[in-house]
C-alpha cells in the first residue's frame, strides 16, 4: 500500500522528517518496502565555480558547476546565479515539468543538464530565478535527500492490521509514537438539499449478520467530469486509476479513511430500492471490470427491486454504474462481514481494494464519517446538492471489554511500567478505559486478549527497553535421530560423496525411466508444473537428475537424505549415487558403509544402470550405481547413542559463484619441496585468474623417485567464465600462467 507524506500531514499536528517517519513506521511494525521521492535521484546538489558569458546569446550565460567529482558545463538563462552558490542541477534523463531532459547544445554551447527554479522542482511557485540552496547541502548528493515536495512510502501491512490500510490509519500510528493524537475535522455538509434522502431511496437489509450496517446518501445534480488535477495526482501516486469525479471520490475515501465505498446512479436502481440479500440461484452480474460473474446462494449482493446491482463489498455492477449522464448519485457506505466477503472474493477469484479491506475489517464506528466526507467532496467537486439525512439501517457493533491485568503485562514484558502509563498508552491508541477494563476502538480487529494489550504496550514503550533474560542451563540435552543422520553424512563425505538437496516433486516418467514403482503415490492438486505433480517415493530420480546435470565431472558421487512419501507413510531415506565404481566395488562399498553405520546391509536397495539405460535422463555414462535405504525403518526401535557428537562443519569456505555456462576442467601435477603446504599452492592457483572457479587437491605423496625431500601434488582446476563458454585456447592461456607462477613461486616442476 502506498502512503503519501503530504496526505498524512493533513492528520498530524507535528512536522515530521522523513527519517523520523521511517523510524516510526518500523517501530509500529509497518514494513517499508520502498520510499519514492517525487524528486528523482538525478537532480543533484552542485556548486557554481565559474560563470561565463555565452558567446552567441546575450541573455544566456554558461555556468561551470562542480558535482564533487567533476566540472559540468550548463547553459543558464536565469539572472540570479553567482559563483559560490549551491544550486540544484537536473541531469540529462531527469524529468522536469513533464519533459525528459537531454544533453543539449544551446546556440553552439553544450549544456549537460539544467539548473532549476523552485517551480520546476514542484517545491514552490517561484520562477524568478534558480533555487539557491543552503550551503550545507552536500555537493553531489541527490537533492531529494534534503527536500522533496512529497515522499511516497510503500508499506507492507500484516494481515492483522486492517486499520492501517489508509492514510488516517497510518496517521493514527504515527501520532501515538509522537505521544499525541490525530486531528480530524468534523464534516459540515455544504450545499444541502432540504429534502431527505429517504424520499429518493429505501434500504432493506435481509442479512443483518452479513451486513451489520448499511448507510446511503443521495446527491442530486452532479456534473460528471474528470476530477481536478490534485485529486487525480493523489490517486495516481497511490496506484489508482482516475475515472470520473464521483468514482474517484469513493476511491479517495478508501485510501483516505480505509473505508470502501460505492456510488450508484439512482435512475438505474429499479423502484429506488436497495436490498442487501444473498444472490439467487443462477443469478449473474456483469461487474465493473466487464466480466460476467456467476453468483451463488452464499454470496451477498446489493440488489434493486429485481436484480443484483453490485457484489457486496467486492465490486459494483455495470448495470448501475456512474456514467456521463448520471445526475443523482446514491452513495453506499456499509459494513460487511469479513468471512463472507473473503469467501466470495475467493470463489470469484476477484480480489479488490474493497474486498481486501472488508476481509481485514473496517472501522465500524467510522461509516457515517466516511459517507459524510464523500458526500461533501462530491458536492464541492462535482457540483451536486447533498440531500439531507442518511438512510441508515443496522447498528454499530458493541465493543468487547478486556481486563487490563497490569501485573501480567509487566511480567510478560519484564517492564516495570506504572499502571497510569499503561492506561495512557492505551488511550493514545484509542482505547476507552473504565474500572480496570478497556474497550478496543472499533478499527482494531486484532485485540481480544490481555496478551494483545501487552503487545501494544511493549511496542509503544519500545522493545529496546525490554531486558534480555537468559534461559537457565539446567535442561538436559536429549540427542535424537538428527545426530545419527549427521553422522551418516560425515561418513559419506569422508568417502568422497557430496550432499545434494532436491525437490520432492516427480513425474511418472521420472520413476518409470529409473525402473521404480509408481504405486500409492501422493499427488499435488496444484503443482507448479502439471507433469511434476507426484511426491517422491524414492530419492533416486533426484540423484539421477543431478548426475545428468554434471557432465563436465569425470565422476559424480552424491548423496541425499530426505523425506519420501506414499499414501500411508512418510519416511526419511538415504540414497547415494556413484559413477565411479564398478558394480562389485559399489556393492562392497555399501556393505562396508552399512556395517559402519550399524544398518543391516540387506535393507539397502542397490541398482545398476548400464550405458544407454538412462537415456531419458540424458545420462550417457558407463556405470551408474545407486543405493537407497529407508532410515526411518532401519532405525525403528533403535535408540540414539547419547554419546554421539556432531562435528562442526567449517563455514569458512569462499564462494566464487557458478556460471550459467559450462566449465572446463584441467589437471596439473607439480613436484615440489616436501615442506611446502599443498594449500599455499592451491591459494596461489586461485589468484592467477578470475576464471579459476575451484581448485581441488586430489593427490599428494612423498617419494624419492621425485628426488630427495620432494613430493608430488596434483590438482583438479575448474575454469569458468560468467559471460561466455570458455574456449580451450582461453583455458590454455590461464593454465600456462598458473604453471609459470607456481614454478616460479615454489620452485616447482610440472609433471607431464
Amino acid at each position: 500500500m502506498k502512503i503519501l507524506k503530504s496526505w498524512l500531514k493533513e492528520y498530524i499536528h507535528q512536522d515530521i522528517s522523513d527519517p523520523r517517519l521511517e523510524e516510526i513506521l518500523m517501530l509500529s511494525g509497518l514494513e517499508i518496502e520502498n520510499v519514492e521521492k517525487t524528486l528523482q535521484d538525478n537532480i543533484v546538489v552542485v556548486k557554481i565555480k565559474e560563470i561565463k558569458k555565452h558567446p552567441n546569446a546575450d541573455k544566456l550565460r554558461i555556468a561551470i558547476v562542480d558535482d564533487g567529482e567533476k566540472d559540468i558545463q550548463v547553459v543558464c538563462g536565469a539572472p540570479n546565479i553567482k559563483v559560490g552558490q549551491v544550486v540544484p542541477l537536473a541531469l540529462p534523463g531527469s524529468v522536469i515539468s513533464g519533459v525528459t531532459l537531454k544533453e543539449a547544445n544551446i546556440r553552439g554551447e553544450n549544456s549537460h543538464g539544467m539548473l532549476c527554479a523552485q517551480d520546476e522542482l514542484g517545491i514552490g511557485d517561484d520562477h524568478t530565478g534558480i533555487f539557491i540552496l543552503p550551503n550545507d547541502y552536500q555537493i553531489g548528493k541527490p537533492i531529494n535527500q534534503y527536500i522533496s515536495p512529497d515522499s511516497i512510502f510503500e508499506l507492507s501491512v500484516t494481515a492483522n492490521r486492517g486499520d492501517c490500510l489508509s492514510h488516517v490509519g497510518i496517521a493514527r500510528e504515527v501520532a501515538v509514537y509522537e505521544n499525541s493524537s490525530i486531528k480530524r475535522e468534523p464534516i459540515s455538509l455544504e450545499k444541502t438539499d432540504s429534502a431527505h434522502s429517504s424520499t429518493e431511496i429505501d434500504v432493506q437489509i435481509n442479512e443483518p449478520e452479513l451486513c451489520p450496517q448499511y448507510l446511503a446518501r443521495v446527491i442530486k445534480g452532479v456534473k460528471i467530469a474528470p476530477s481536478p488535477q490534485w485529486l487525480q495526482d493523489r490517486l495516481i501516486a497511490c496506484g489508482a486509476k482516475p475515472i470520473n469525479n464521483v468514482v474517484d471520490i469513493t476511491n479517495y475515501i478508501l485510501l483516505d479513511l480505509g473505508h470502501p465505498m460505492h456510488a450508484f446512479d439512482l435512475k438505474k436502481i429499479k423502484n429506488n430500492k436497495i436490498i442487501v440479500r444473498l444472490a439467487k440461484k443462477n443469478e449473474d452480474l456483469v461487474s465493473l471490470d466487464g466480466e460476467l460473474r456467476n453468483l451463488d446462494k452464499e454470496m451477498l449482493v446489493i440488489a434493486d427491486a429485481d436484480k443484483a446491482i453490485a457484489i457486496a463489498g467486492v465490486m459494483g455492477g455495470q448495470n448501475s454504474e456512474i456514467d456521463m449522464s448520471t445526475d443523482t448519485v446514491v452513495l453506499e457506505a456499509a459494513q460487511f462481514e469479513p468471512k463472507n466477503i473473503r469467501a466470495t472474493s475467493k470463489k470469484l477469484k476477484l480480489a479488490t481494494e474493497a474486498s481486501y479491506r472488508f476481509e481485514r475489517g473496517i472501522d465500524a464506528g467510522g461509516v457515517e464519517y466516511a459517507i459524510n466526507k464523500a458526500a461533501n467532496m462530491i458536492a464541492t467537486i462535482s457540483g451536486g446538492r447533498v440531500m439531507s439525512g442518511i438512510v441508515a439501517k443496522g447498528e454499530k457493533p458493541n465493543k468487547i471489554k478486556i481486563e487490563i491485568s497490569p501485573d501480567k503485562i509487566r511480567s510478560l514484558l519484564g517492564l516495570t511500567i506504572p499502571k497510569d502509563e499503561i492506561d495512557h498508552i492505551l488511550r493514545l491508541l484509542g482505547f476507552s478505559i473504565s474500572d480496570g477494563k478497556c474497550e478496543a476502538p472499533l478499527w482494531r480487529h486484532d485485540i481480544s486478549i490481555w496478551q494483545d494489550l501487552a503487545e501494544e504496550i511493549g511496542r509503544v514503550v519500545g522493545y529496546d527497553k525490554i531486558a534480555p533474560v537468559s534461559l537457565d542451563r539446567t535442561q538436559k540435552l536429549i540427542k535424537t535421530n538428527y545426530y545419527r543422520l549427521e553422522d551418516i553424512k560425515d561418513k559419506l563425505i569422508d568417502s568422497g560423496y557430496c550432499e545434494t538437496i532436491n525437490y520432492p516433486f516427480l513425474s511418472e516418467n521420472d520413476l518409470f525411466s529409473a525402473g521404480l514403482k509408481s504405486s500409492d503415490l501422493l499427488e499435488v492438486a496444484n503443482p507448479l508444473q502439471p507433469e511434476n505433480r507426484l511426491l517422491r517415493n524414492s530419492l533416486i530420480p533426484g540423484l539421477l537428475k543431478n548426475v545428468a546435470k554434471n557432465p563436465a565431472f569425470d565422476k559424480v558421487l552424491l548423496f541425499e537424505i530426505g523425506h519420501i512419501f506414499n499414501k500411508t507413510r512418510e519416511d526419511q531415506n538415504l540414497a547415494i549415487v556413484s559413477t565411479e565404481k564398478s558394480k562389485e566395488e559399489f556393492v562392497q562399498f555399501v556393505d562396508v558403509f552399512a556395517k559402519q553405520m550399524e544398518i543391516d546391509s540387506k535393507l539397502f536397495k542397490i541398482k545398476f544402470y548400464q550405458k544407454g539405460e538412462l537415456i531419458s535422463y540424458k545420462i550417457k555414462r558407463q556405470n551408474v550405481c545407486v543405493a537407497e535405504v529407508n532410515l526411518s525403518k532401519a532405525f525403528e526401535n533403535i535408540s540414539v547413542d547419547q554419546k554421539l557428537t556432531i562435528k562442526p562443519y567449517s563455514l569458512a569456505g569462499m564462494y566464487r559463484g557458478v556460471s550459467k555456462f559450462p566449465s572446463l576442467t584441467r589437471d596439473l601435477a607439480f613436484v615440489v619441496d616436501k615442506n611446502i603446504k599443498s594449500n599455499e599452492i592451491l591459494q596461489q592457483i586461485y589468484k592467477q585468474s578470475p576464471i579459476v572457479n575451484r581448485v581441488e587437491l586430489f593427490d599428494e605423496f612423498v617419494s624419492d623417485k621425485f628426488g630427495a625431500d620432494k613430493k608430488n601434488l596434483a590438482y583438479h582446476i575448474f575454469l569458468q567464465a560468467y559471460d561466455r563458454t570458455l574456449t580451450d585456447d582461453e583455458a590454455g592461456v590461464v593454465i600456462k600462467d598458473i604453471i609459470a607462477a607456481i614454478s616460479n613461486l615454489f620452485k616447482a616442476k610440472l609433471r607431464s
Binding site: 511494525g29 514494513e31 494481515a159 469479513p338 473473503r342 481485514r360 510478560l412 519484564g414 486478549i449 496478551q451 494483545d452 503487545e455 522493545y463 525490554i466 534480555p468 533474560v469 537468559s470 534461559l471 542451563r473 535442561q475 538436559k476 540435552l477 536429549i478 540427542k479 535424537t480 535421530n481 538428527y482 563425505i493 569422508d494 568417502s495 568422497g496 557430496c498 550432499e499 545434494t500 532436491n502 525437490y503 501422493l522 499427488e523 499435488v524 492438486a525 496444484n526 511426491l535 543431478n546 546435470k549 565431472f553 559424480v556 552424491l558 530426505g562 523425506h563 512419501f565 512418510e570 562442526p648 562443519y649 563455514l651 564462494y655 557458478v658 572457479n693 575451484r694 581441488e696 569458468q720
Partner: protein
C-alpha cells in the same frame, strides 16, 4: 589420496545452529513434511476464513492434506506428547506454491525453535536470539526486535541483526499464542512459551554471498563442491 566430499551449505548452517543451541538443552525434533490442514493451519490459530492464510501460498494434496508451509506444524505434535519444560529445534524443508526466481523458491529450509515452561517471558526470547546471533555472526552483532504478526504468536516480532553494517531481517518470532498452548493440551494460565522460525536458505545466501537461491537445489557440483 581420497578427495573429500562436501556437506550441503544448508546442512552445514543447520548443524552450526544446532551446536549453538546445544548448551541450552534444545532437542532436535523433526515433524512431517506432509501434514493435515489442522496441524499446519487451524491448530496454529490460522482458520481457513482468516486472511492470514494468504500469507503463504500452499501446495494442497489431492487427499486434502498439505505440504507444510512452516515447521511450526511440529509444535502441536510435540506438545501433545511431552510435558513442559521443553526446548526444541525443528529443522526441515517447507513449501510455498510460488513461481521460482533467483529470490524465491518453492521449497526452503526452516529452523524453528520452541520453548515452553512456566513463566517464560519476552526477555527469554530476546536473550536466546541475541545469544544465537552473537554466536553466529560475532559478539559485536546487534539484534533488533520490531512488531510483526504471525497468527500462532502474540506478541509477534520481526527480528533483524546488524551484520557487516547492515540491518537484515532474519526471522520471525513471538510468544506462543495462548490458543496454541491450549492446542498442545496445556493450560495457558500456567504455561507460556516462545517460538522463532528462520529461513536457513537466506542465512546461507547471506553467509556466502550467493545470488541465486535456486543454486541450493540445483545439484550442480560446481556449486556443491565449493563448501
Amino acid at each position: 589420496m581420497k578427495v573429500k566430499g562436501n556437506l550441503h551449505p544448508v546442512s552445514a548452517l543447520l548443524r552450526q545452529a544446532v551446536k549453538i543451541f546445544e548448551p541450552l538443552g534444545f532437542e532436535v525434533f523433526e515433524g512431517p513434511e506432509v501434514d493435515t490442514e489442522f496441524y499446519n493451519f487451524d491448530a496454529l490459530n490460522m482458520p481457513s476464513d482468516h486472511p492470514a492464510r494468504d500469507m503463504q501460498d500452499t501446495f494442497w494434496l489431492t487427499d486434502g492434506r498439505v505440504l507444510r508451509t512452516q515447521t511450526s506444524n511440529g509444535q502441536i505434535r510435540y506438545g501433545k506428547k511431552h510435558k513442559p519444560p521443553f526446548r526444541i529445534l525443528s529443522p526441515g524443508q517447507v513449501y510455498r506454491n510460488e513461481a521460482t526466481d533467483y529470490k524465491h523458491e518453492a521449497a526452503i529450509f526452516q529452523l524453528e525453535g520452541l520453548v515452553v515452561d512456566k513463566n517464560i517471558k519476552v526477555g527469554h526470547l530476546f536473550s536466546t536470539l541475541e545469544f544465537f546471533f552473537k554466536k553466529l555472526y560475532g559478539d559485536e552483532t546487534k539484534v533488533r526486535f520490531t512488531p510483526s504478526f504471525f497468527p500462532f504468536v502474540e506478541p509477534g516480532f520481526e527480528v533483524s541483526a546488524k551484520h557487516n553494517g547492515k540491518w537484515l531481517e532474519l526471522l520471525g518470532a513471538g510468544m506462543v499464542h495462548p490458543k496454541v498452548i491450549k492446542n498442545m493440551g496445556l493450560d495457558p494460565k500456567i504455561y507460556s512459551g516462545f517460538a522463532f522460525g528462520m529461513g536457513v536458505d537466506r542465512l546461507v545466501m547471506l553467509k556466502y554471498g550467493i545470488e541465486d537461491i535456486r543454486l541450493l537445489r540445483s545439484g550442480d557440483m560446481r556449486f556443491l563442491k565449493q563448501f
